[in-house]
């Protein structure tokens, strides 16, 4: 038991902090004593509630004056004294109670009464007061993020597990094991392997970045008659909660100002009569996308893959929430940062094949690409597939388009290269038989992560000014890319994912 001392003779009602680390608040039940007759014996006690598994103990604020000693005890609803907290103390300011009786046994959930007596030197009661005290057990059994939530996919070896947008974000088997409160589950960090079930993990969730997510919690526990409230910091106001309730909280602000990854800890504060009695922390990861996926098809695998959007959104974190900004950022990320190198020997694809003649129905083996299973040497079909795959998952629409056929090149700096050349295949060739790029608008605008153009007035000769292919007019792109030969855009279409 903890007591803090103040000499008898001083008078105050100081709300004491609960031993929760959640702020100095207390419940004051007695009268303010600032105008007391100095000869009137006075005692007051305050303190409201305890969840013994969320907080080890709570402090009862006891103030006394004009007496000799103090006695503080707790009775249960039947009037039986279950704990004597103080008897004969001459100085007291706060008394801790851990919710246990005099034998050390934990008292059950219920309503209790704290009795405080001020005694004279002979042990006679000068005055008494009481305060209601609640022992409760609170907790959350599950939580489901909703409100425009985009289903996520975990993929492995070409197979997919798609969460339903109504699936719980986390579950716990029970709010406690009888002696210890169950902490809210940690984040599921595996980007490829989903958990076997929802218990014991908090899954990430994807939303368009300008959405205010909501979370529906499932309250458990036992609170008796206590007026319990639950609040999530930054997710609206406190709500009255009883076991079995499903309170819904909405994030007070949109997820982000643009695409990216939002990682935060949701702080759940339980309180009784406005006084915090316990805090639980829920780790959360939100993938803030530009919008819903822009694939032509729906359902797995045409949803955001956790293993794909996690690094992509981190890479473009901070960009403006527009298609142009996102596509430009993805283009630069792929061109500069993924360690990819153009196949200057054959121009062979490593991850893209076409299921139909004439570059029809491009199939991108995104699964293998993510692990670089076939290496990092790629060609234009791969770059177009990679860019389209990431952008469509994030919500920025792209299609691949094929530039045909057999044309000679101006100077380019292919992905992974350090120098400009107009003969990417050296002595074996100074042109492309075809070239795959991406477009959001039927080749009016081009994005290309395969190469950088020469951006000056003469793209066919040195010096070179690096021009990444971001939001470039389709005709300008051809003018800068092609030195000679007929080149035109054909076969614009969406890719297939594998």
């Amino acid at each position: 038991m903890l007591t803090t001392a103040r000499p008898l003779g001083t008078v105050s009602l100081i709300p004491l902090a609960l031993l929760l680390g959640c702020g100095p608040k207390g419940i004051a039940l007695g009268d303010d004593t600032a105008t007391l007759d100095p000869h009137t014996p006075v005692i007051s006690v305050s303190g409201g509630a305890l969840d013994p598994l969320l907080a080890a103990e709570t402090l009862l604020d006891v103030t006394a004056d004009n007496g000799a000693t103090v006695r503080v005890s707790v009775t249960d609803a039947a009037g039986t004294t279950v704990r004597t907290l103080a008897d004969g103390l001459t100085m007291v300011d706060a008394i801790a109670w851990n919710g246990r009786d005099d034998t050390g046994a934990l008292e059950p959930v219920g309503t209790y009464t704290v009795h405080a007596d001020l005694l004279d030197a002979a042990g006679s009661v000068l005055t008494s007061t009481t305060s209601t005290f609640y022992i409760v057990r609170v907790g959350v059994l599950s939580g489901t993020l909703s409100g425009d939530r985009i289903p996520l996919i975990w993929h492995r070896n070409g197979n997919y597990w798609e969460e339903a947008s109504t699936d719980p974000t986390f579950e716990v088997a029970a709010i406690d094991d009888g002696t210890t409160a169950t902490p809210l589950p940690p984040l599921w960090d595996d980007l490829e392997q989903p958990p076997e079930d929802h218990v014991g993990h908090t899954l990430p969730a994807a939303y368009p970045y300008d959405v205010q997510p909501t979370i529906t919690l499932s309250a458990g526990g036992d609170i008796g008659d206590a007026p319990v409230e639950l609040e999530i910091a930054g997710w609206g106001t406190a709500q009255s909660v009883s076991p079995g309730d499903a309170p819904v909280f909405e994030r007070a602000t949109p997820l982000a100002t643009g695409p990216g990854v939002v990682e935060e800890t949701l702080t759940l504060t339980w309180s009784v009569d406005g006084v915090p009695i316990g805090v639980q922390s829920l780790p959360a990861r939100f993938y803030a996308t530009l919008g819903t996926p822009t694939f032509e098809q729906e359902g797995p695998p045409y949803e955001p893959w956790v293993a794909a959007i996690d690094p992509a959104l981190r890479a473009i974190q901070g960009v403006e929430g527009t298609d142009e900004a996102v596509l430009s950022a993805l283009t630069e990320w792929i061109y500069r940062d993924l360690g990819l190198v153009y196949d200057t020997r054959y121009g062979a694809s490593a991850y893209t094949q076409y299921a139909g003649r004439g570059y029809d129905r491009g199939e991108f083996d995104f699964t293998s690409f993510l692990s670089r299973r076939n290496g990092s040497t790629i060609n234009c079909s791969d770059c177009a597939s990679i860019l389209e795959g990431y952008s469509d998952m994030i919500g920025a629409n792209l299609e691949y388009t094929i530039i045909l056929q057999n044309f000679d090149l101006n100077f380019i700096k292919s992905i992974g290269a350090t120098d400009y050349t107009h003969c990417p295949f050296g002595s074996q060739g100074c042109g492309f038989s075809y070239h795959a790029v991406t477009t959001p608008d039927d080749a009016t605008t081009i994005y290309d992560a395969t190469l950088a153009l020469d951006g000056d007035d003469d793209p066919g000769a040195a010096p070179f000014t690096e021009l990444l292919v971001q939001t470039i007019d389709g005709q300008e792109y051809l003018d800068r890319l092609v030195m000679s030969g007929n080149a035109s855009y054909m076969h614009t279409q969406k890719e297939y994912l594998r």
Partner: protein, 196 residues
């Protein structure tokens, strides 16, 4: 109860040309196979990390010839003809693309041994194997159960929340809460069967 079995891409009834059973998908000098689609076959990195093979087993030689041409046109630098098998392209060093009957193979090697790898793979072509694996979908109390005796890999589109259905002993490949819209299964020789 078999609910439906349709749109079967069947093997062994080619209209023309030699029809092989395929090439075993697991080879000591190849890495773990990745199964692309019924139209594009399977692929595997070389075990030494110095290249990649793609293998397509068509229902007939025409289907393999179509795959061969699709592969060939996806090279940004045109591949020259090469004298090997029924038809081939490449230089025999870093790349060799060939077709033998209904089997077509692309070998890419940074060790410049594409010809020897292609020769070795061609020698591993299998004939007269058992019929290809076929998937069947049954409605059960738990949802939809897919059985595919002999399948080594499957890809299920739709089906709902079942973590990673994979081939298992006895051919059971998964129980799905929703009815899958497409199931592709591959057998040990790389033959793909699709039901929709």
């Amino acid at each position: 109860m078999i609910v439906f079995l349709s749109a079967l891409i069947h093997f062994g009834f080619a209209a023309s040309g030699i029809v092989h059973s395929g090439i075993p998908v697991r080879q000591p000098d190849l890495g773990e196979p990745a199964f692309q689609s019924a139209e594009n076959g399977w692929s595997a990195p070389l075990a030494d990390g110095q290249g990649l093979v793609r293998v397509y087993v068509g229902r007939d030689a025409d289907a393999a010839a179509d795959w061969f041409e699709r592969q060939r046109e996806s090279f940004s630098r045109p591949l020259p003809d090469y004298a090997f098998a029924d038809v081939a392209a490449g230089d025999g060093l870093g790349v060799l693309l060939f077709r033998d009957g209904n089997v077509a193979v692309m070998v890419k090697s940074t060790a410049d041994n594409a010809l020897s790898l292609a020769t070795s793979l061609r020698e591993r072509i299998v004939d007269n194997a058992a019929p290809p694996a076929i998937a069947a979908m049954r409605r059960t109390e738990d949802g939809w159960t897919i059985d595919a005796p002999g399948a080594v890999h499957s890809r299920v589109v739709g089906g709902g929340n079942v973590p990673f259905a994979t081939a298992a002993e006895g051919g059971l490949i998964g129980v799905y809460v929703q009815r899958p819209t497409e199931i592709t299964v591959w057998d040990a020789f790389g033959r793909a069967t699709v039901i929709r």
